[in-house]
Amino acid sequence: MYFGLSEDQIMLQDSVRRFLEAQSELEHVRVYAEGDDALAGQLQNGLMELGVPLVFIPEAQGGLGMGVLEAALIQEMLGRFVAPSAFTPAYGMAVAGLNVGTNADQRNVWLGRIVGGDVVMGVGVTEAVGAREGAGLTLSAGAVSGRASFVMGAETATHFLLAAGDALVIIDRAADGVTETALTTIDKTRKTIMLDLENVTCDVLEGSAQPAVETMINVGRVLLAADSFGAAEMMLQKAVAYAKDREQFNRPIASFQAVKHMCADMAARLEPCRSLLWYAAYAQDNVPEEGPLMACMAKSHISEVGKFIARTATEVHGGMGFTDLMGLHYWFKRIGFNRQLLGGPEKTRHDAAVLQGFSN
């Protein structure tokens, strides 16, 4: 028995860390957040060179054939550096959905095009988690209509993989009948949109759509948890560094127990999340009977701990934490964004109860 990362997994994570340290500095992220999309493309190219988008794609379709754990380790780094990247929807959730929800031809075609780089997927499964305001898509005679809300991955998507009732469909972003409404969210490092479709031609996937959508949600939950974990870890690190540097009453504020205990509380709550995240990611591929439950556990718990760290780390920074100057809010907002998507803590805990037969 070995509960931990392999040398290869550590190397993979380190290579992504080193790349992002150089490419996703806060100054760059700011430029992106202010509306210059160049960084997203630049990051996309850089990550492509590292092979990152291929990690989770099966070897049969030209990918690297790794698992959700590797994808989570990458996403943790993207969260850590608040990187504007659509990795979770484009190369995590979409790949998971296409693995399960397609017939062999479709799998080869779509995953092949993703490997080739001419297709990048966005995903819309919000309504499969919970449909607000009557949103949802319906399929009729090979065309799809209705609203998909909070579609993820709009920064780089050429196509969208969408849950439409009991079916899973792919549409071209440029197809006739597609109306996009860009949303302004708290998190300026990722792009989310509303999609209104009117008789849009689509490729209906001919696999098991329901399990495919569920797998997309499970993988998405684990990866959002990984993103929050990475962001929270960075916030704690920044809080400790700031407290050591900042002096009041002629001493570093890090020497005051009030401040130390805030940091100790953050560390004590965060550290077990690392093991929960590893296991939840590992379970998706290796302990399938526990996969959905562990995805709920990781998403709900890391969202709660993430929220606690987002506010506490901000408080440790005092007034500066509240300013744009320090930029801490990018991490704060990233954690806040992840919390709401694909089911907030109450929803994911409810799902966990249902999965265990505690509720219906």
Partner: protein, 397 residues
């Protein structure tokens, strides 16, 4: 990540299961915790023979002499818990004194004390805390003055569990009153039958006397009953404190509590509906379940670190703080879901689970405070784990 066990470990697990099945009639009940229980000592003897107690301790001192293997220790713990059979005798003698003697005791001390401690014949208590020395343990004032070939001990200890039943005490005393506080302490071993020792039970909020106060008046201890050198007692004691913190915050206990609560919530009803149908209680249960899982996986990660002879780092440092707090919150939920039944206490009619929940809720608060309080744990996490500076010392007036 590889959560499969190799053949060697699968066979070992089968061996443990076999042992438990064969000897199930010899095992005392889980609730049999008496330090003088004959049944427990007989069970301990069987466990020692088969290497399920004192497994890695040297054979020459009554141990089993096996190479340390964190995975095998883990398998033993899992299988005993699964079979609902008690493991070997624990307590401060075995958990704290024995490792200390092995590391720092003289050959004579090892020969004399380790084996009878392992068999349960010799029961120990720990004389560390004092009324004026709690978190600031090094401020202890119980004095030991060398007169001829004896130390003469005067002073008072508090929070001394099993003092009334103990044969022996391992005790911190001040032998060098003029030295700086950490350098004036010595570590003595002496019999609780020595004239001049008075033990008074300390009743706590649970209604039981889990602890005692111990008073020393001119207690004469042979000078060779010291572990380490004069003035080195602080260093000797710190070797054992590490062992104590490892004992607290066990994730298996939390998991078994969680499962008991889920069972209560499915079995018991309010207005005819199972408690589990209450969405608020259910949400609290699942939130705690996530934390229990997180601590369980954190424990698995620590087992892996131990098998690789690596420090657990932050993952280890947070166990006492998080584990004790989590257990306390689980007891709190159990009481809340039971409504009015939650207030039943001791041996009341209609009480659930033999009254463990209120007792656990109160006793766990004691565990949060004892064995290095939550606040001291946070100092350790921030200073050793996050490398934040210590609080500046206040100048003496």
């Amino acid at each position: 990540m590889n959560l499969d066990f190799t053949l060697e470990y699968q066979e070992f697990r089968a061996e443990v299961r076999d042992f438990l099945e064969t000897h199930k009639d010899s095992a005392p009940r889980m609730s049999d915790r008496g330090v003088r229980s004959e049944k427990r000592r007989a069970w301990q003897k069987i466990l020692l023979e088969h290497g399920y107690a004192a497994r890695t301790l040297p054979k020459e001192y009554g141990g089993h002499g096996a190479a340390p293997d964190a995975l095998k220790s883990r398998i033993i713990a899992e299988e005993f818990s699964r079979a609902k059979m008690p493991g070997g005798i624990s307590g401060q003698g075995i958990n704290m004194l024995v490792p200390t003697l092995l590391e720092l005791g003289t050959e004579e001390q090892k020969q004399k004390y380790i084996e009878p401690t392992l068999t349960g014949e010799m029961v120990w208590c720990q004389g560390y805390s004092e009324p004026g020395a709690g978190s600031d343990l090094a401020a202890l004032r119980t004095s030991a003055v060398l007169e001829g070939d004896h130390f003469v001990v005067n002073g008072q200890k508090i929070w001394t569990s099993t003092a009334a039943q103990a044969d022996m005490i391992f005790c911190l005393v001040r032998t060098e009153p003029d030295a700086p506080k950490h350098q004036g302490i010595s570590y003595l071993l002496f019999s609780m039958d020595t004239p001049g020792i008075e033990v008074r039970p300390l009743m706590t909020m649970t209604g039981q006397a889990e602890f005692n106060e111990v008073f020393f008046t001119d207690v004469r201890v042979p000078a060779d009953q010291i572990v380490g050198q004069r003035g080195e007692g602080w260093m000797v004691a710190n070797a054992t404190l590490t062992h104590e913190r490892g004992m607290l915050g066990d994730p298996d206990a939390a998991l078994s509590r969680l499962n008991s609560i889920a069972e209560i919530m499915q079995k018991e009803t309010v207005d005819g509906a199972p408690l589990m149908d209450n969405a608020v209680f259910r949400d609290r249960l699942i939130a705690l379940q996530a934390e229990v899982f997180a601590m369980k996986f954190n424990g698995m990660r620590l087992t892996t670190s131990a098998t690789q002879k690596k420090s657990g780092g932050m993952a280890g440092m947070i166990v006492k703080l998080q584990g004790c707090e989590l257990n306390h919150r689980l007891a709190e939920l159990a009481i809340d879901v039971m409504g009015e039944y939650g207030i039943l206490f001791e041996d009341s009619p209609f009480i659930r689970d033999h009254g463990m929940w209120q007792t656990a809720y109160m006793f766990d608060l004691g565990l949060i405070i004892g064995g290095g309080s939550a606040q001291i744990q946070k100092n350790i996490i921030s200073e050793r784990g996050l490398e934040m500076p210590r609080e500046p010392k206040v100048a003496k007036k």
